[in-house]
């Protein structure tokens, strides 16, 4: 639904900024979605969007710009403008290539699996890889990653498992 509601270019850039299907949910009323799908031009449609910023730790920021009623195009532009104004870290060029294709591939594969059984797609944030590669500098999750691998917690893990640190 997200890929249909947002243009490919906007969707890909949002992915680059760290938004993904768990951060951007577009909730359509079914009838409205059917009518939109039937439209020959498939232009922007009104949607209710929950959006969480991947770079904010405040409750308000996590939902910024909040429950948004407007066109999908306007929402995408709003999000991108926030990043372009420097309010959030800029994407790394290496992350831009192929992100949307990877997501589309996962959705397609899940659709095929769903023909014969239960299928789903989820996206996780690889905290260790992101930390080591310097991805999303300044993101508060890196503090948690550092804490999880601090000498104190390594020692705690050793004590819990009985294996030496």
């Amino acid at each position: 639904v997200v890929s249909k509601a947002l243009s490919d270019a906007v969707l890909e850039e949002l992915f680059d900024y760290g938004y993904h299907t768990k951060n951007v949910d577009v909730i359509f009323k079914r009838g409205r979605l059917r009518r939109w799908i039937r439209r020959p031009s498939r232009g922007p449609m009104r949607a209710t969007v929950w959006c969480a910023s991947p770079t904010s730790s405040s409750p308000e920021g996590r939902r910024s710009p909040g429950r948004h009623s407007g066109t999908d195009h306007r929402l995408g532009c709003d999000l991108l403008h926030r990043h372009r104004r420097g309010r959030h870290p800029q994407p790394r060029a290496s992350r831009r290539a192929g992100t949307a294709d990877v997501i589309a591939g996962k959705l397609h594969a899940a659709t095929l699996r769903a023909r014969t059984g239960f299928a789903y797609v989820y996206l996780g944030y690889p905290m260790i890889d992101a930390f080591v590669e310097g991805r999303d500098p300044g993101h508060p999750i890196h503090a948690l990653t550092a804490f999880l691998n601090s000498p104190e917690l390594i020692a705690f893990g050793a004590a819990m498992t009985g294996e030496p640190a």
């Binding site: 768990k22 951060n23 949910d25 969480a52 409750p59 996590r62 239960f118 789903y120 989820y122 996780g124 944030y125 690889p126 905290m127 260790i128 999750i141 948690l144 990653t145 999880l148 691998n149 917690l153 390594i154 893990g157 050793a158 819990m160 498992t161 294996e163 030496p164 640190a165």
Partner: protein, 52 residues
Amino acid sequence: VTKIDAQATLYRPADFLTTMHDDTGAGERLAAYTLGLTARMAARLGRPAAVP
């Protein structure tokens, strides 16, 4: 114990995890843990019972 791996996953209402295992075949995993972070969590919503 030389490192603690971590992956962040966001669960929304109605999201759930199916039966699974984390055996990747690498043979380096000793134990697994889950750290739950819940926004606006309150005691009235339930919490683990104290261990006697």
